[in-house]
Symmetry: C2
Subunit: 314 residues, 2 copies
Amino acid sequence: MDVGELGEFGLIDLVTTRFAPTAHVLLGPGDDAAVVQAPDGRVVVSTDMLVEGRHFRRDWSSGHDVGRKAAAQNLADIAAMGAHPTACVVGLAVPANTEVSWVSELTEGLALECERVGARIVGGDIVRSELITISVTVLGDLQGRQAVTRAGAKPGDVIAIAGRLGWAAAGLAILGRGFRSPRVLVDAHRVPEPPYAQGVSAAIYGATSMIDISDGLVSDVRHIGIASNCSMHIQSDLLVVEEAVAQAAAAFNADPLTWVLTGGDDHALVATFPARSGLPDGFAMIGDVRDGDPGIVVDGQTVDPAGGWDHFRS
Amino acid sequence: MDVGELGEFGLIDLVTTRFAPTAHVLLGPGDDAAVVQAPDGRVVVSTDMLVEGRHFRRDWSSGHDVGRKAAAQNLADIAAMGAHPTACVVGLAVPANTEVSWVSELTEGLALECERVGARIVGGDIVRSELITISVTVLGDLQGRQAVTRAGAKPGDVIAIAGRLGWAAAGLAILGRGFRSPRVLVDAHRVPEPPYAQGVSAAIYGATSMIDISDGLVSDVRHIGIASNCSMHIQSDLLVVEEAVAQAAAAFNADPLTWVLTGGDDHALVATFPARSGLPDGFAMIGDVRDGDPGIVVDGQTVDPAGGWDHFRS
């Protein structure tokens, strides 16, 4: 059955049966709006859009994969503020001939990824379109803490990373050449594994700034440098190039460090910490913050942001 | 210049210069997420998507019109809960050949409509797509009151409306036949005028249920009947058919009451009130709530929901 046959309200009934409430959800789907707890009197909010053919391909990723990825990239933004994700609303534009089962899988993936971090889908909108487009907005709770922005890095701070880099880029390169394995890399492209818990840990540990790596390490760490008016010095020999990534790069005659430095979509967290405070579990040092031109310096060389990922120019 | 030439980050810089903060905005655009006040420890959230060719046409509506409409339909959802809109995030998918000026106009329209009710745009996402798609998520503050849901109508309550009906449907019919006037009706299709302030008024006045009319009076009031397990009796002779709407219907040999009963997109508010409490300013009685089969009855006849507007089937 396709969504044109089921109809809008049938589709809404189908997907909302999947949404179980939590203590944070005061009013769930089915009304003009949802009501969510914001215990400390503030709410963190972030939104992202995914477009078929640009952010995912249905021949490369299942509906479940796309749902998990759509949720994950937003949940990672909330984690990067040092907040705990509480609730999520989803906008879905789909062609009438889309299989209902694909939409069910997508919803299952979205709901599952949210549940992994204790958040719930509380509402949404479903409309008809010629092109599958998914919009996810996630709300979060700072639990009384200050938000960890991009603007607080200070000279002398340590730059540290939690999570992986270059995996999704390697997976994309593999799929782009018609291969389906190594599975571990292809899966990393399909569904990122952001280090969610490390976001709150970093905040509790006193992180001075934090960002999630969605466009690439170089491009995103540079955002911290500019917002904090500091020079972000990265040492490439402190970056982990996993064996799987190195092997894929060798097979494709690519430079694995390029994937690690500029590959997007892994949603690692990069944070800065005062030098003497040490690092919370899960973080490893990759460089340090210095006085100097705002931006990013890798192994002593200022790096041009074009090494990152600009969705319109690339 | 088109958005492909300007690039993603240039476009973000351009549109975010438009966003002035308010006391509710603790952290605005430019970080991984925004932070918004939720003074009473709860936040109301609603999301909508608009797709070019389905929800708007660029030859019928300016970018400014589309922006105002995209914001208005979401702000009306927040008003329909009895809440005050505080902040908004916007997802925008656009083709690379879209004129930057069109995106600027859209942003201006979104920001203006938000500002009319005291809300601000606090974040967003811009991605490339083949089809212009806009996602708007609005947050609201209940100011310590209970949310007014669809589920509280009681037999004996009065059903009342604030705002207009049939105007946008008349405007759409006019544009669909190649005309551009009467301007007042065409403008009603382009930009709805939801009675925002009446949402909070209704809540303060003790409304037992409320909904915003986006799909048509019959379809949306029926949602209250079903959620409240009541029969919603509407008297059509209490519905105002404005002269402009009546004249357009006569010119097109259409039934103006059909537009008033089933036309969507005007975003009037329908609420129920205890009979003896009277009605707040701006509301007029259109019927009453009775025991009986959950649903809607117009002039004594149960009305089929197919008279409403189901985006996939229609």
